[in-house]
Symmetry: C2
Subunit: 739 residues, 2 copies
């Protein structure tokens, strides 16, 4: 595989490990200079080499590399010791002198650690956008352009990524991004089955087929459990198993009080769990708020839409039908933006102690918001509009009053009797969400940011040109000595241009991409029986998605600083939840729509409450039982890398134990054999004389009956002799009788 061995000799990045962007827009020059000096000294103190270049008109770029081999080695060694103590590594790390980062991502991670970790823990303590270092607006590594281009070229020609490709991503961007791509890849590969199966079912049975629904639910269960194993396997392969145990403190954590820890002897900030719990209870009104707020918006747009499309008959109908779509398109992103920011505030308020806990809690909140924005419209169509529309429609006369001034009653609305449900509405909506919306999303994600970036760049260039034209007249003398660093050295110009460009890029956040996939999975689990071609659309989408996401990381975002992970995190739980809810909605959908007998108004006839509930309840429990069985089954199959790791551990144990055993057998030769030699003499006949002698020996030992008990038989041979005499005495006669 070419892609896995990028040409190492050509290093376009000039051995730069990290670039720190320092903005002095809001600071006066004196203070900035002082702070920069401090920054550079700090970096130098931990053993990092620095070079300073101009950024844009209000920022500096500080290039950082771990020059002194020794300090890097020490940092790598420390990081490995930490891993080992947390149980991430099995084996004690090799000594410091031979500690070399094994991959680019490890090197970058360690350097990042050196830059950011507090001084008392041995780092430079540079915290981005926080406290003292508010002006440090970015700390990022540089893209490896050669590798990126080659990957993109390679991948466009193949269907599946190989394990080596994933390793390559992990080596470049770290485990966290690696896990996302591995997930996407597994998901894509697994989607092929429902795509083929769904297509066949669509041809043979059409929508709402029971066979497809069962197959799909089973697929969801198997996929999730398979992915859990896969995760474990990858975390062994990438040696990141258990990294979540290495908990990073959150800088923003505000302790309620300081406590002297009697165990560690340290003063430690504490925030009581009960108080946090109280704050977390705010989530309940928040979730209600989200549901109600979004529910009202959806319901209103929905009602307007139904009214216009199916009741209203007045003028401008062709234009008015777009009102709800426009409303939704405008309101939903705004609302979910607001809600996500509220969720973030709520999460900040909950004051988590570790970065991980914070992220997990935030992810859960964002999932709730996304769940509602993504699936509520479909829920409303499936479970409110279709069964109850004929009862709700009359109330839509409310709108009628609004339009009355403009039109006469007779023309404006169809009479109630003629109102009919659009039975295809649900399918149309599902198709919209699973095809159109995915494409729109793709465009938003990939094309819009590039355009934005280009425009911004143009604007900056324009502004710079304008800016330059003006001040040069005033301060020409004063600036003379300083102009030297302004002009880039000709051999650096292109490189610096690229770096400045990268510095302008967005930060990449892997959770956004994971969220997108998770929501996509939800459509499949919850609503795909409506239109079994859903997985086909997703297969195509995800082939593109994988490549475009990679393109996005490489071309539209700063290279993310490698982060370790051993899982895709709380999204896994969300997937499980979606698949569970899917078992309920699928059962309900199939029961409600599969008979195909539609009433006169297009509504499904003969929905019986108890039968619907029985179906749902039955399917849900079958689902849970199957999940239990699948989980137990898959848990028994050990993934290859886990097995390797186990074998490694086993060998380690064996070597240790063998060494202690050996020391024992050599001890035995020295010491234990002496009594053996004594014992190997013929056991003396037990006589009255010998017994008396023994009795005398005991009396010397005093009255300790316990010791006397143990002195009756000296050595095992004497015991054996006594044993044999007892056996002969007792079993002898019987065995003789038997013969």
């Amino acid at each position: 595989m070419d892609s896995s061995h990028p040409p190492k000799e050509v290093n376009d990045n000039r051995h730069v490990d990290y670039v720190i962007r320092y903005s002095f827009e809001d600071t006066d020059a004196e203070k900035a200079t002082q702070q920069l000096e401090l920054l550079l000294r700090r970096l130098s103190e931990v053993g990092l080499q620095t070079e300073v270049r101009e950024g844009d008109e209000s920022s500096l770029l500080i290039f950082v590399r771990a020059s002194r081999k020794k300090s890097l080695k020490r940092a790598v060694y420390q990081s490995r010791i930490r891993d080992w103590l947390h149980g991430v590594r099995n084996t004690e790390p090799e000594p410091e002198s031979s500690a070399e980062p094994q991959s680019e991502s490890e090197r970058l991670r360690v350097v990042h650690h050196m830059i950011t970790v507090p001084r008392e823990a041995g780092g430079a303590g540079i915290t981005m956008k926080h406290g003292e270092w508010k002006n440090v607006v970015a700390i990022f590594p540089l893209h490896d352009e050669g590798m990126n281009k080659q990957c993109m070229r390679d991948w466009s020609r193949k269907t599946f990524l190989s394990n080596e490709d994933l390793d390559q991503i992990r080596n470049t961007f770290g485990e966290s991004v690696g896990f996302y791509f591995a997930f996407l890849q597994s998901y894509f590969r697994f989607l092929l089955f429902p795509a083929v199966f769904g297509f066949s079912c669509w041809l043979l049975f059409g929508s709402f087929s029971i066979i497809y629904t069962v197959g799909n639910a089973l697929w969801c269960v198997i996929f999730i459990e398979y992915w859990k194993r896969q995760e474990e396997d990858l975390s062994c392969r990438w040696q990141s198993k258990g990294v979540s145990a290495v908990r990073e403190k959150r800088r923003e954590f505000i302790p309620e009080r300081e406590v002297h820890d009697e165990h560690t002897g340290e003063i430690r900030g504490v925030f009581p769990a009960t108080q946090r719990l109280q704050r977390q209870l705010l989530q309940v009104p928040f979730a209600l708020l989200v549901t109600v707020a979004l529910g009202v918006i959806f319901a209103t747009c929905f009602a307007i839409e139904i009214f216009i499309a199916e009741i209203y008959n007045g003028p401008l109908k062709t234009y008015l039908v777009f009102i709800p779509t426009i409303l939704l398109s405008a309101l939903i992103p705004t609302m979910s933006g607001v809600l996500v920011s509220v969720a973030t505030k709520l999460n900040d308020y909950e004051n988590y102690e570790t970065q991980m806990a914070y992220e997990v809690a935030l992810t859960q909140k964002i999932f709730v918001v996304n769940f509602i924005t993504s699936y509520l419209p479909l829920f409303m169509t499936a479970f409110i509009y279709v069964p109850f529309a004929s009862r709700i429609a009359p109330y839509l006369d409310v709108f009628h009053f609004t339009v009355r001034p403009f039109v006469s009653k007779k023309d404006a609305t169809t009479t109630r009797e003629h109102f009919s449900i659009d039975p295809d509405r649900l399918r149309k909506q599902v198709i919209y969400f699973t095809v159109t919306a995915q494409a729109v999303n793709f465009a938003q994600e990939n094309i819009v940011p590039i355009a934005k970036q280009r425009l911004l760049q143009k604007y900056k260039e324009y502004k710079k040109r304008q800016g330059k034209a003006e001040p040069e007249n005033n301060d020409s003398e004063e600036k003379k000595p300083a102009t030297i660093p302004f002009e880039d050295a000709p051999d650096e110009a292109q490189f610096l241009k690229r770096v400045r460009n990268e510095a302008e890029m967005e930060d990449y956040d892997v959770t956004d991409d994971l969220r997108e996939m998770c929501i996509q999975f939800g459509y499949l689990a919850l609503f795909s029986p409506v239109w079994p071609l859903v997985p086909v659309s997703f297969v195509i989408n995800n082939w593109v998605e994988l490549r475009s996401d990679f393109f996005k990381i490489c071309m539209e975002c700063k290279r993310p600083s490698p982060q370790r992970a051993d899982t895709i995190g709380p999204w896994l739980e969300s997937l499980g939840f979606l698949s569970w809810v899917g078992s309920i909605t699928s059962a309900a959908l199939v029961y409600m729509f599969s008979n195909g007998h539609e009433g006169p108004n297009g509504e499904p006839t003969s929905i019986k409450g108890w039968a619907l509930l029985l179906t749902i309840s039955f399917c849900e429990h079958i689902y849970l039982a199957v999940r239990y069985a699948v989980r137990a089954t898959i848990a028994k199959m050990e993934p290859p890398n886990v097995r390797n790791e186990r074998a490694e551990r086993y060998l380690l144990r064996k070597r240790f134990l063998e060494s202690t055993l050996q020391s024992r057998s050599s001890d035995d030769e020295d010491e234990a054999n002496v009594p053996y030699v004594d014992e190997s003499q013929e056991v003396p006949e037990i006589t009255r004389a010998s017994l008396e002698e023994d009795a005398r020996a005991w009396s010397k030992h005093g009255t300790d009956t316990s010791e006397r008990f143990w002195m009756r038989q000296k050595g095992w041979r004497e015991s054996a002799h006594v044993a044999s005499s007892i056996v002969r005495a007792l079993a002898g006669p019987e065995s003789k009788k038997q013969q």
Copy 2:
């Protein structure tokens, strides 16, 4: 606390660690003698001292103790090394020379390990009742009578056991038994709430109160989650966290083929998981078989009972009503005995590789059998008899034909119209299962075995007396020399009598007691709304149970060989399952019976299918949501011992990291300060000359642009200088403007 410090100086057990009972009943004397010799030699080789005494007429008792301090120390050290490698211990064990067992249970466990572990792993390889050592019928430690008596005395005077009492149990009988008592104690303590609450509800609202049901379900959830935390806490306190990782191979495991493991380089028996899975699928027909078999028995007895009690009116009615009870009492224990033995066979066939996997699988099967025998009768009454009896009753005419020959039709049966349901039947049954059956069970468990033991002893003594009377005439000469060991030394006689008595006792199996508690919990979770006094009965029962179980271990069973555990194992899962099912049955029971409006035949009126299902489904999901919330909440509260352990780990990490940090700062002084001194000079003005000089220096270095990039600024001070000039140039004019 007196009980926690038993008088150590009085050792009734004469320092005996283990007693091995060797039976030569079915072996001829020659072979037995040889084997005994081998046995004694093996024990001696691993450093154990032995004494042989007569057992009963066909067995020997071999007393074993770890005499040579060094070999015990080595075994303790090895066991700790093993723990450490498996992650059970955090800290590397102290050196071998200072390895002392910390408690009696550790000592016994280590000695047991020395006796039983295969020779290649450094033990004596004595496997009880297996292979070569088929004649070794028991390996057991001796009871510490003083301690036992003191505990029983102490506990009878107090309500709750203290943590020290639990530690005492753990030190004597090992963690596995310790966990059972800790569970029982927690359960008992937790039961006080539903007992008080249930009693109040019973007074205020009677049966089927919604308030009681909700409270009870919530209690179940909290109890289970609390116990999980408690388990974790105890496993930290007892230093057994993660012992399940130390997997013992099962001796009975039959590998399908030998495989050369490429990682460990060993030949290893393999049994493919897929094949085991196929075998496990047999569980499905087994579960069906159990359900059908027991269902048929119950249904028959039930039908007979209803027929006789409520339809039949013929002669002998007063006697005939006992038929079903007699049938049930005879059939159920037999059937469940058969089913459990089938389950065990099935489990053997599944061929598990480790002892733990085997036990977990067996426990699950036994749980299924017990679930059905315990709860099926109540399910049938609640969900078949009460709602459908009036429809089923007519079919009971089948029995009518049977009795027709004896009586005239008119007298024999009430007419159908007069048939009425006994509305109290369910309550009577619940009371029977939760009060009467518990008492019967108590008697079976504690009184019957003692009586049996006494009788057996009497019988043996009688037989011995008879046996002795006869052979003495024949072999008096030959036996003369052997008679010496027959007569116990006077100072040992009483001790040996006690040991022989203990050797006759049953083995103690902690899972039986756990199963019993688990089933009891099930009645509470599933059916207590029927009669809210259920927890009151259980509180009383469990106070006695705790003491009687301890009495049973001490007086009726061999002292169990200490086994480590960090959980009550699969029973925890069973408890969770029961509590889940409880949310369903409770909801159904309350819905069906709470309105109190009974129809003319005693059956509850107006049960609507959809409403019942909606209630159940709603309650179940509420239950699951609450469980999720409770779990998340409790997970956030760290139990004290877990915290201590975490603090310990933290200190360990800190010390390690500090030591590497220190070594660094000393390095820095040696080496890194040299360039600092150079750098602290005044930075030379950047002039054309200096630039040209730099350029010359670069050209010497050749064309490596990367290195040239890093050579522009020498040291951080030069970088700082450049930075300040850039800042001044760019920000300077602006800041001036602002002023």
